[in-house]
Amino acid sequence: MKRSLLPWLVVAGVLLLLFPLVAEKFYLQLVTKIMILSIFALSLDLLVGYTGLVSLGHAAYFGIAAYTYALAAPSADPANVWLTLPLALAASAAAALLIGALVVRTSGVYFIMVTLAFAQMAYYFFHDTRVAGGSDGIYVNTRPDAIVPGLDLADDLHFYYFVFAALAIVFALLAVILRSPFGRALQGIKANEHRMRTLGFATLRYKLAAFVLAGTIAGLAGYLAAAKEGYVNPEMMAWHQSGAVLMMLILGGMGTLVGAVLGAFSYVLLQEWFSALTKHWQLLMGGFIVAAVLLLPQGLVGLPRLLLRRRGLRSVQPNDD
């Protein structure tokens, strides 16, 4: 994490902490959803933006944790967070380990296709079997219980801060890991995997570890999403969902943690705005993403630099316009 970014992060964190003081219930829930998707986007950024593995099946790990929670939750009483959360994360991690062990051997477009194929298998497993309510999904009637005195996750305000804490932890964890020798090796693999191998790095192991870590963090997001909505269905792991989180990264700027969060915020807010304008909001969204890719190759996170440079050029060449 660049030092100059730290004050901005603190400001953003404080704004998020204070937001519930002014927000109506609708907006409180909206930002809760956005923070959950930010965690999801951060997990994919570790793969796409830092390790160079473009997964188009990342929703599988989001959905597997959600289903694990829904299936493990008792029917009437709230589930214990400290039992169901580790279980859900373990399920996502195990799925990512199993699938990752196969897919990290491929690269480029093959990697994209194989991750998609495995995610579709998970999707159809839940969609076409009666294991967990088929295409109807399953309801979880109560929010999980964190068994901390004074913390009631059924309360939207408490749940908001619970999700905020999860986002802050994931962000900080990834920032630390990416600076570590392990994280540097991942970035080396993204830059030039062949060179990393010839330097002596067993790159497959690193890619698999990144895949499992990303799957586990996606599982955290999936768990929170299921807990928030009290409902899971196969659409949580549909390829639309994998595509949406990839678009968040493209929009915000991949390869930066801030970009992933910025992408989740802008994607969901744009979606809200466009769908208020027209029911064909996806058309507007598609156009917006295309424009963003063309005009902001580094995503929204690159916007300030782009503006600064443009202004810098003007001041250097005042007569050139």
Partner: protein, 253 residues
């Protein structure tokens, strides 16, 4: 050959019908520079790729000391202390020169399980990276992105990365390609110093450099060894002269 570090026996690599490396038997001794010369397409780079584990041989064996490393993957070969440089510069373009070498130094240590302490806190690795940059004359360019370096500087960075892995064997594929005379002289002097405690396989077209450096010289033509021996013997070898004078670059030897 007495106490050969790296030795091949009938090493062969086919690409379809083309035999790029054809039954090559050679050995590399400690503290020597073994130069491999030959016209373009002679199979020199393929030989380096085979030795580095980047390509699997079709037949034959490669040994390091007593260990048979014929089928070892590139990263395990590198871990044994066999470092290579590439004919076409192969560095991490967006990273600084320092980070290129720091990663190379990091490769010698356990980093898979090190997730929480910033990489720059490992002082030994930084020191190895800085020393490698300094030795090739890039000490003042540590902070520059690899893409911002001149061609000659990037060639030097290739060598620095190899050195940062603290190797015993260096496989250098045309390290002087595209370098100016001054840079080239600097690298030749460096290789002379490195030969004191490394085994160096040098593929090079610059014959002045080859004859200034080589203790042992192997000439390859069409994947085969045409001649191998002391530089003076090779220089006066009629077959070598014919091969060179007959095909290309008359008068290079």
């Amino acid at each position: 050959m007495i106490d050969a570090v790296l030795a091949t026996d009938s090493l062969t690599r086919r690409f379809g019908g083309l035999v790029a490396v054809d039954a090559v038997t050679l050995s590399l001794s400690p503290r020597t520079v073994h130069a491999v010369i030959g016209p373009n397409g002679a199979g020199k780079s393929t030989l380096v790729n085979l030795l580095a584990g980047d390509l699997r041989p079709s037949a034959g064996t490669i040994r390091l000391g007593v260990e048979d490393i014929t089928d070892w993957p590139a990263h395990r070969v590198a871990q044994l202390g066999i470092a290579r440089s590439f004919q076409h510069t192969n560095v991490f373009g967006a990273f600084s020169a320092f980070e290129n070498c720091r990663l190379a130094a990091q490769s010698r240590h356990r980093s898979f399980g090190r997730w929480f302490v910033p990489a720059e806190r490992y002082g030994d690795w930084n020191a190895a990276a800085e020393a490698a940059l300094a030795i090739v004359g890039l000490g003042g360019r540590a902070g520059a992105a690899a893409t911002a370096l001149s061609h000659g500087e990037r060639r030097a960075l290739e060598i620095a990365m190899a050195l940062a892995t603290a190797p015993t064997v260096l496989l250098l594929d045309e390290p002087l390609a595209g370098m100016g005379p001054e840079e080239s002289g600097h690298i030749v002097a460096l290789l002379k110093r490195l030969a004191a405690d490394h085994a160096i396989l040098l593929v090079e077209h610059d014959m002045d450099a080859v004859f200034a450096l080589a203790d042992q010289l192997t000439v390859m033509v069409n994947g085969r060894i045409l001649a191998s021996g002391a530089p003076d013997a090779i220089r006066s070898n009629a077959e070598v002269q014919r091969a060179y004078l007959g095909t290309e670059a008359p008068g290079v030897i």
